[in-house]
Symmetry: C2
Subunit: 406 residues, 2 copies
């Protein structure tokens, strides 16, 4: 309420929230989020996990007055869950789907079905061009044995590359979303180092909210307490990152998170705490070179570390490609054997009826089933191998470029 | 041979060729292409349909001397087939996979398995930044009843959007590849209109090669003659497009295509004729505004036409989503019915053995098979519907922006 209008002082509050599709009391919470967004009157709102397009339409209808511009990014079977509400006109959009995003057969995790992506919206506020990115990376289901780490690293790398290539004409770059990485994780260091984006939590002049800026906290009634046992304060996995690419400076004046339940209610807005930033953007005399965020020797280490993890994932994927291929070949051999036996029986070579018909046909169906399934998995792991190889090679190229610099 | 070096006069020859993976005499032709590329010494070579990574490695080993820089874009099950050879250092690369690319069950067409994409390489030649794009869009198998037109239009739109968003800091933009569209097709007009790219064939000062610049000609012994019956001269589906985005001008001095068989050989290099361009890039005093290639009222018509085609594809996809969903539900009902009957028989409700065991279990397996298949197809068509909806909405946004301009 005490915030001056952005046209005069270039302030941009930003908010990210998450809504689980199958979660408890979803409708009530969407309602609640709509109320708060209307009351607070942010300039820009980035939402993740709005899986239901109907929820988006409801929010859009409700918020049309204060956020006349909005965009919903469609992708995957369920949807990317990403959407943007803005007080300022959205000039252009682009969606980039990550090439790896978990496994379709891990139904209990379901990330594959969301078609995880990064969405870009281009805005112009007071003559300043903003490239705003919203994203949601693959979840981490088990920190000790994180099978999805290579996929998340590929996503972090593709996110960084996408930002670098698309933001060259922007004055200010903003990234908000659920990155599913702890602040010290290699993926975050890679993303920050390779794009030059800065972390609003680390830079903020004032901070108010959960301790250490955590966004997944035990006191939120929708979080799974057992997962947070090693982290009594919670973890910080939702971020607002930013940089100015031309003759501008960005400063985070204030960062806030929500803390548990909504005011006057018994439930929180979401299972993640929302992050809100007030940014101050100023024109400055000379252009600052902020292409790389980390000093180059450190960046070399980070890229090397990421590349090692991708290589580990690559070996696992190659192993799975091999074993699914072998399974498919075995099933095919069994089928051929059965076909030969059946032909033999038909030709009268085997006297009597050596195979009981029922178990014979059951076995044939089983073999066909295994053949189809193993072939599908083999194709999937072939794609996985290709994308991991591609990322590893890109990282190698990046390392060479870093080392060749004077 | 008479070409002066590009450092002094900014000339850039460009060549695109296609190699079919399962094609006749592939090895011999890869060999032939390597020989020609080494002899001619182009500055930049863009290849499509190099499906085999071994072919790429062989070419790379052979061409290392004259093209020290190269990149192979990995994607899909088979691969994107795209690669680039360059005399100048490749500074950066990015791959964008099209969100729609045919159907996995159309095995005879197989486009889905290639993971069709657009590859970007960034080069700096004499201080000029080149964004070079290489791509291969979905094939057209039947011009009269082109079931893939909506997918190809989504690809053309995504290609145009990708180029617009990533080329903002480039001085010169080049696009080369097999677009699988005739010059007057809506997809080409959309791509050219929305990006401002110009067609080297239309702009070339000198032209030499197949009549009308055709690249798929009946006299090439690898083409299917019956497909080209309505087009006695052949068709032009491989393009070199370009534009200068800042204070530069590009002029196509010369455009050539190969014509049938390779010199001194009985076979052509490829089933498509190669296109070679000599471009002259000059620095000019003031920046020209070339954001849109077509005058705006015409562009509005083109986007409207494309949107109509996408909407037709959307209705077909929704229909298929519905019928596959219904099929899955029917299969599930049959399974439940069978389960009830089996339970009934077990409980001794039905005296005797009403169902022959063999046909009962065969039916159950059939139902499971149909259920799995129909569910898979339903998910696939759900994704298709989402992407077509997303593209249609982006086109609607673009139309609104075009109409609002003064």
């Amino acid at each position: 309420p005490s915030r001056p209008p952005p046209a005069s002082c270039d302030i941009l509050p930003l908010s990210g929230r998450a809504i689980r599709y199958l979660s408890k009391r979803r409708q009530e919470r969407v309602q609640l989020i709509g109320d708060v967004l209307r009351r607070e009157g942010f300039d820009l709102v980035l939402l993740q996990e709005v899986w239901s397009e109907r929820d988006y339409s409801n929010l859009k209808a409700k918020l049309g007055g204060c956020y006349p511009f909005s965009h919903y990014f469609r992708s995957g079977v369920i949807g990317s869950g990403l959407c943007v509400f803005s007080r300022f006109p959205i000039l252009d959009t682009l969606l980039y789907q990550y090439s790896l995003n978990g496994y379709p057969y891990m139904l209990q995790h379901g990330d594959w079905f969301c078609g995880k992506s990064v969405g870009l919206v281009v805005l112009k506020i007071s003559g300043i061009v903003f490239n705003v990115y919203v994203t949601h990376l693959h979840a981490e289901y088990c920190r000790e044995k994180d099978a999805y780490l290579p996929h998340r690293l590929v996503q972090a790398w593709e996110l960084a590359q996408f930002i670098r290539h698309t933001s060259k004409a922007a004055d200010v770059v903003l990234l908000g979303g659920d990155l599913n990485m702890h602040p010290e994780d290699v993926g975050i260091r890679l993303l920050r180092g390779w794009t030059g984006l800065r972390d609003a939590f680390a830079e903020a002049t004032r901070f108010e909210g959960c301790e250490d800026g955590c966004t997944l906290v035990p006191k939120n009634c929708f979080t799974v307490k057992s997962e947070l046992l090693p982290f009594p304060l919670g973890i910080r996995i939702d971020y607002i990152l930013y940089k100015a690419v031309s003759s501008f400076t960005v400063k985070c004046e204030e960062l806030k998170t929500t803390t548990g339940t909504a005011p006057g209610m018994d439930i929180p807005f979401s299972d993640h705490e929302a992050v809100m930033a007030t940014l101050c953007i100023r024109r400055q005399g000379q252009a600052a070179d902020t292409t790389l965020g980390t000093s180059e020797p450190t960046l070399t280490d980070v890229v090397t570390e990421a590349r090692t993890e991708v290589a580990v994932g690559l070996r696992a994927a190659q192993q799975q490609r091999y074993s699914t291929g072998r399974m498919a070949v075995l099933a095919l051999l069994l089928l051929l054997l059965q076909a030969a036996a059946a032909l033999g029986a038909l030709a009268g070579l085997a006297a009597g009826q050596p195979f009981p018909k029922l178990s014979f046909s059951l076995l044939a169906f089983l073999a066909i089933g295994v053949l189809l399934l193993a072939t599908g998995l083999h194709l999937f792991h072939t794609i996985e191998v290709k994308m991991l190889q591609g990322t590893e090679e890109q990282m190698r190229m990046a390392l060479r470029a870093l080392q060749e610099r004077p």
